[in-house]
């Protein structure tokens, strides 16, 4: 193994944290320089992450770029990192989205300014997010998981809009509440395994050997479930999300929707399902049920929203419902669908939040009624992109949003052996109804915002269309939306082998 293979992940992951420290030390008045540094650092991290693709073996199923060294020997926690087909796409997406956020921030730093702190926190957040996807030690996973919480708390609490403090505290405490139970679950796994270990791979193997008895699994699952379910967020634990999204600054919303939520779904696939397979199977119908409730409930809630950003936030609840439905079928199709859905949602909803942010920057309102229509006349490019992304989000084939949802529904048609076919098919039908409602609220939104004549109040306002910086920040996402839609193999080809071996391990392959 070369030094590159051992260190690449670590370099990519900690580069932003190092950048955050550098930025923290820069003088406050060098505003441009600080922004430039953020772009360079996130860009460099992205380059490292992309370079990894060239030495990644796409046919293999095991961990690559693995590094496993002692860390906290007292408790047996190790610095065990690596990457496989399940995490690769999310890992890359993290770097892409944060880089694009840095580019976007070249132009827009939300009130009250404080560029330095804003960007340093964003970089710190990047390390936490990327770290979550590479950790193969539960303690390490937990540290990264919690590390994400803090910068996001400040991003919402300081740079958010009117009701920011409420939203920030709600986000922080709700997630923290979940992670306490998650930690208890982790500790349970540690003490129940023989020899005691926090290592995810070894725990998976131990579980595959029938090491964990059923009762333990059922209880421990509840713990990790709470942690992950709140993060996803699954219905009925989602109520922090609309508030956090609505109040967060644009960049915060993009990263929240784009990456943070996926930490929860990723946790289900990486930890809950393979380490507690029997419990996962017992709870799967309930998870599927909650997923489908989220789809329908989220869509109905969207119909009632008056605030654009809150609408998009609720749409996330529904989309993540499809991801959870896919996971809960415990089939290769379902889990691959879930992974595809996560990436697609990250790209699409990330883009939607960028757009809503830009609309707010121009109109100084997010109220659908106040914008009042005619955006296609005032800012045709911005409105056109918004329509494009919304249509991608409602699941048009040929664009990214389609595959995750349609494959999740397909997997629900024939769930893993032992799961109730009538139940899953019923859920599938409701999921299908959800897609109709989804089309309904998005098209209604476009009608009220984009179409119609221009209200008088905006007629003489100087509102500019998409700026150059925005084009640069958005173009990669637009291309990704199209590319993933036309060529789903880009993601499915990655996750295929890894998912297969994961399911074989738990006896579902």
């Amino acid at each position: 193994m070369s030094g590159w293979e051992q260190s690449a992940i670590t370099i990519a992951t900690f580069l932003p944290a190092a950048g955050a420290m550098v930025i923290a030390m820069l003088p406050r008045d060098r505003d441009r320089f600080i922004r430039g540094t953020a772009v360079v650092v996130t860009g460099a991290a992205l380059v490292v992450a992309v370079a990894m693709l060239f030495s990644f073996d796409f046919g293999a199923s095991g961990l690559q770029f693995e590094l496993d060294v002692a860390w906290i020997s007292v408790i047996g926690a190790r610095y065990h990192v690596g990457i496989d087909g399940i995490s690769l796409a999310l890992f890359e997406l993290t770097f892409l989205l944060t880089f694009l956020c840095a580019v976007y921030s070249w132009k827009v730093i939300p009130k009250p300014g404080k560029t330095k702190a804003f960007l340093a926190l964003m970089l710190l957040l990047e390390t936490g997010m990327a770290g979550t996807f590479i950790a193969f030690d539960l303690v390490l996973f937990f540290v990264f998981w919690e590390l994400v919480l803090v910068p996001m708390y400040f991003l919402i609490g300081i740079w958010g809009s009117a009701n920011r403090e409420y939203a920030a505290i709600k986000f922080f405490l709700y997630t923290l509440f979940g992670s306490v139970f998650m930690l208890l679950g982790f500790l349970g796994m540690f003490f129940q395994s023989e020899p005691h270990t926090f290592d995810i791979i070894r725990l998976q193997e131990y579980a595959a050997g029938g090491g964990f008895d059923r009762t333990f699994q059922l209880v421990a699952f509840i713990g990790v479930f709470l942690g992950f379910a709140i993060k996803v967020p699954m219905w009925p634990f989602h109520t922090w999300l609309p508030d956090a999204h609505t109040e967060a600054p644009t960049v915060g919303s993009v990263l929240l929707a784009g990456i943070l939520l996926k930490m929860g779904t990723y946790g289900f696939i990486r930890i809950a399902l393979p380490i507690l397979p029997d419990a996962a199977k017992s709870w799967a119908p309930w998870i599927a049920l909650l997923g489908v409730i989220a789809i329908v409930y989220g869509a109905l809630a969207c119909l009632a929203q008056k605030d654009l950003k809150r609408l998009i936030a609720f749409s996330s609840v529904g989309h993540m419902g499809f991801v959870m439905l896919g996971i809960a079928t415990m089939t290769p199709v379902g889990i691959n669908a879930a992974i595809f859905g996560m990436v697609a949602h990250g790209v699409i909803t990330g883009m939607l939040f960028f757009e809503v942010g830009s609309i707010y920057d121009r109109y100084h309102t997010r109220e659908i009624a106040e914008i009042g229509g005619g955006m296609m006349l005032k800012v045709p490019y911005l409105a056109g992109l918004f329509a494009f992304t919304a249509i991608a989000s409602l699941g048009l084939p040929g664009l990214a949003g389609f595959w995750g949802e349609v494959l999740a529904l397909l997997s629900a048609f024939s769930p893993a052996e032992g799961l109730s076919i009538p139940l899953y098919r019923t859920l599938m039908v409701f999921g299908g109804i959800g897609t109709i409602l989804t089309a309904g609220y998005f098209l209604w939104m476009l009608q009220r915002v984009n179409m119609g004549t221009l209200p008088d109040r905006w007629r003489d306002e100087a509102i500019v269309d998409v700026s150059r910086v925005e084009w640069v920040a958005w173009a990669p996402l637009l291309v990704a939306i199209l590319l993933l839609g036309v060529w789903p193999r880009l993601i499915l080809g990655l996750s295929e082998e890894a998912v297969a071996s994961l399911l074989t391990l738990v006896g579902l392959g």
Binding site: A301, Q305, Q447, G452
Partner: protein
Amino acid sequence: MVAAAETAVNGEAGTTALAWIVTVLPLVSFFLIVLFGKRLPGGGAWIGIVAVGAGLVMSLVVLSHFIGGGEATELSEDWFRVGDLRFELGQYVDGLTAVMLVVVTTVSLCVQVYSLGYMRGDARFTWFYAVISLFTGSMLNVVIANNLLQLLVGWELMGVCSYLLIGHWWEEKENSDSAIKAFITTRIGDVPFLFGIFVLIVATGTANIPEITGAIGGGAISRGLLTAGALLLFGGAIGKSAQFPLHVWLPDAMAGPTPVSALIHAATMVAAGVYLVGRMFSVFVNADPWVLTFVAAIGATTMLIAALLAMIQDDIKRVLAYSTVSQLAYMVAGLSLGPAGYTAGLFHLFTHAFFKALLFLGSGSVIHAVHSNNMSEMGGLRRPMPVTFWTFLIGSAALSGIPPLAGFWSKDEIISTAFHEQHYIVWGIALVTAVITAFYMARAVLLTFFGEYRGHGHPHESPATITGPLVVLAGLSVVVGFLNATAFDVTLFSEWVHFGEGEHLPFNYGFAAISVVGALAGIAVGYRLYARWRERDPLRRLGPAYTLLERKYFLDDVYLRGVVRPIQYRASAAVNWSNRFILDGIVHTFAWTARQFSRLVEVVDRRVVDRGVNTAAGLTGFTGGILRYIQSGNVQRYAVFLFVGVILLAIGISIRA
């Protein structure tokens, strides 16, 4: 689809190897027009026209493969795999595919040339051409797809194009309402369609259409599954082909520019549902027999109720729209007759495309001249607009089933097959509908072109870009029927498009005579009532029946008030309320309880614990001095401390370990 990796399955691909290029051309032209259209002279329209023109030529070349008696061919390439399923991108070309390629490219070419004149000066001219191109490519993809998933992609893309074009003039809320209605209504059908695809995928392990057909032929799928599959697939057809009870979107779709109505909402996209049934016919034939009976019931119901609605419309486009719904129902009914009706149903799809496109473009020419859709503001236009008049007359006669025009051959075939197959109810309704069809077309022609002009201004004939396509389509409406003119023993079409052995009935002069007499009777009644303009429509004498038709059987009201509004406003408000007061209520109660508890702890802490601590006050003062520096209220500083803290903690623990 890389040519080198293609493999022919059933024999030599021959000229059919070109077919996929026909599909790709308009898709490429879409991107070219979007990216460069505005900067090009002519707004990029020529890109679309050249692409589809080249496509038409190639389609004819593909069709020549079958004129020579060629076999169906298939080419494909891996798309993606997931689990045990392997999906491909590919083409399956048989006679039906080839015929449809020709129809779609021909109509699209006519419509695009026509739009040069019709859409001239439109604010979104370039965008219009881009979407027309995307639409054409999507429809061709549906036609050519060798597997259901790829077909679904085209199917849904058409839905979006339709949405975009119906709402092309989105400044008016009415138009965007219609666009949304069309999208949502068809999607209601698309969900069962999707599930139908699932049934077949799970039953056979593939989405490949020839393989599915083969598996059915080999008896590999149980009848129960086929029944479920057929019914679910038919849901998609009901939505897309505007059959009862989901037909309500099509008349409203007339809010789009008229060329769009001709291309999408008459000749091609709405035919996709019928095409789907034809393409997946073995699923229907091998399902429980009552499935086809159900299909027949839908077809018969739709055909009649739509034709009745067409009788009373004032908007000329709505007459044609209801007529389209009714004619699509003929095709559905034809297919419901089983293998014997297969060719007849699809032949009607083929002929209808030409004369219905013609009628719509003709109505567009009229609308262009008089600036109104309402026939009450037309009249007497045969003199100022002779080309439009004569071509429209040919189209109307074709639709009414007057021999030897195209509609006569195809419609008569459906009607006589229905009798022959002893589907007497279908036969009766089809015959009655034929009479009504002739009646409403006579009414439309009389109100539009005869009598005195009742509108404003001085209408005059449209430019050549508009009349040119009319003449071409009129010519085709005369001749295409002869492709299956059984009276003269020409059965070319049934050699291309047939199911199984492709048995076809010998021409029966008796039945043909009944059809023709029926049509003439319809025209006669039409003439009797509308030869002279009356302010008050004579049909109003029908009283309550007229009101029922005027209110469209109250279906729209039921849907809107019974389903849409309650979901849009009431259910959503309830959900939002529950989110705010129940779910968040629990969260807030939780937080409140925690706060009360912490307050209690604080009290205990101050009264009991602090007494002891107070003695150490001096120490506290000292620490406070240091802590004051940290507690600066500067969040940035907090963040830095926090970060450094985490790092130090990690490092510290590592070192100790």
